[in-house]
Symmetry: C2
Subunit: 228 residues, 2 copies
């Protein structure tokens, strides 16, 4: 992917749009691994196969590049988070799909999850405004749906905010903490069945806690289109 000593640039050649996307993708990978301060523009540029000066032609500053990356990350993140509102009348199915979706995000976009985690751990110095404007409302909508279920007697009245926090944390852990989890599971990298095991446990726990008539048997269905 970067062995050609000839003229570096090979693959993207195409449009300006494509080159910008390549830069954003490389930057995301590096920001995920080393954090904002651990990445240099030179590093990103070399990864893509352009000069640093050229990169600065497309993105006027490092912070702007980071901002663009974060913006894209948030788009992806939110796109996996709207399941709760799709099944507004069926708590069990809605929660199953929500959990499956969040785990799918961790599996399909681990770097997005890590970039987001890095920013939040740092106290969201750059992106707190956008998080407050885009993430929090989405979450509060989910909490509201959950509270409505409780009011309608469709589920037990647990604290929806803390439940959501628990769901985020325990699903995104499979992206953010992958290096440690693979040590625990004693395999070089996480596999599909590890995500399935996580989903199975988490769904089980949530449904046992939240449903009125708890499913006596372990609820191991819903593997069809949710998690692969």
């Amino acid at each position: 992917m970067k062995k050609a000593a000839e003229s570096t640039r090979v693959k993207h050649s195409a449009t300006r749009e494509q080159l910008e996307q390549d830069i954003l993708a490389a930057a995301k990978r590096l920001f995920a691994k080393r954090g904002f301060g651990g990445v240099s523009l030179d590093h990103v540029a070399r990864e893509v196969g352009v000069s640093k000066q050229n990169l600065l032609y497309y993105f006027p500053s490092k912070e702007e590049l980071y901002r663009r990356v974060l913006h894209g990350v948030l788009d992806v993140w939110l796109s996996y988070m709207d399941a709760l509102s799709h099944r507004a009348d069926d708590p069990e199915q809605a929660l199953r799909e929500y959990i499956a979706g969040k785990l799918r995000f961790s599996r399909e976009h681990p770097d997005d999850s890590r970039v987001y985690a890095n920013e939040v751990i740092s106290g969201a110095p750059i992106f707190s405004a956008e998080i407050a404007a885009r993430v929090i409302p989405a979450l509060q909508a989910d909490v509201a749906i959950f509270n409505r279920w409780a009011r309608l007697g469709l589920c037990r009245p647990v604290d929806g905010r803390h439940l959501m926090i628990l769901l985020w944390a325990s699903t995104q852990a499979y992206a953010d903490w992958a290096s440690q989890i693979s040590l625990v599971l004693e395999k070089p990298a996480l596999e599909v069945q590890d995500f399935e095991a996580a989903e199975s446990l988490l769904v089980d726990m949530v449904l046992r806690t939240v449903l009125i008539a708890a499913p006596a048997a372990a609820p191991a269905q819903s593997r069809r289109r949710s998690s692969r």
Copy 2:
């Protein structure tokens, strides 16, 4: 704390030991907030009130300073993690104390949690050996205890590894994600009762999932010495 324009150094003056501790504490705070790459030695030195050159007299390199910080973080982290083995015959009480301990860690040592999280997210480039040597065995001991309970019929046979991952993730979230959680809860900072609400939900979920004879009522005891 750093307004005196006179000679900076005021508080630590004491022993070499004390100065090293001050440096480590300041470095921990900064690494937690900005990651390894986002911190400069100058930055740390100014925070403590010594010169960069003097700091390098005590710690021969930035990486060595980081290593020392991480080592201390791991000490603290592990000291909060041994609850499971203390009540090897009583799953319910052991799990209650384990969860309470982990949440106490997040509340009392949020920066330790963040430094650790930063390192793990980055793939643990520097500390994977020490994590493998110190954290994983501790965790596997916990999993073993859990599996023994299941074998003895003291609890249901859920996957202990994924359960532990869930417990870590959802407890440490209250340190690592504090900035976002406080946005969700609409308060400037997390308070004791937020940790109690988290503990209550998490204990409830785990016990409902794990115990054979699930406690019908929400198990809201064990607030005494575990969480304050």
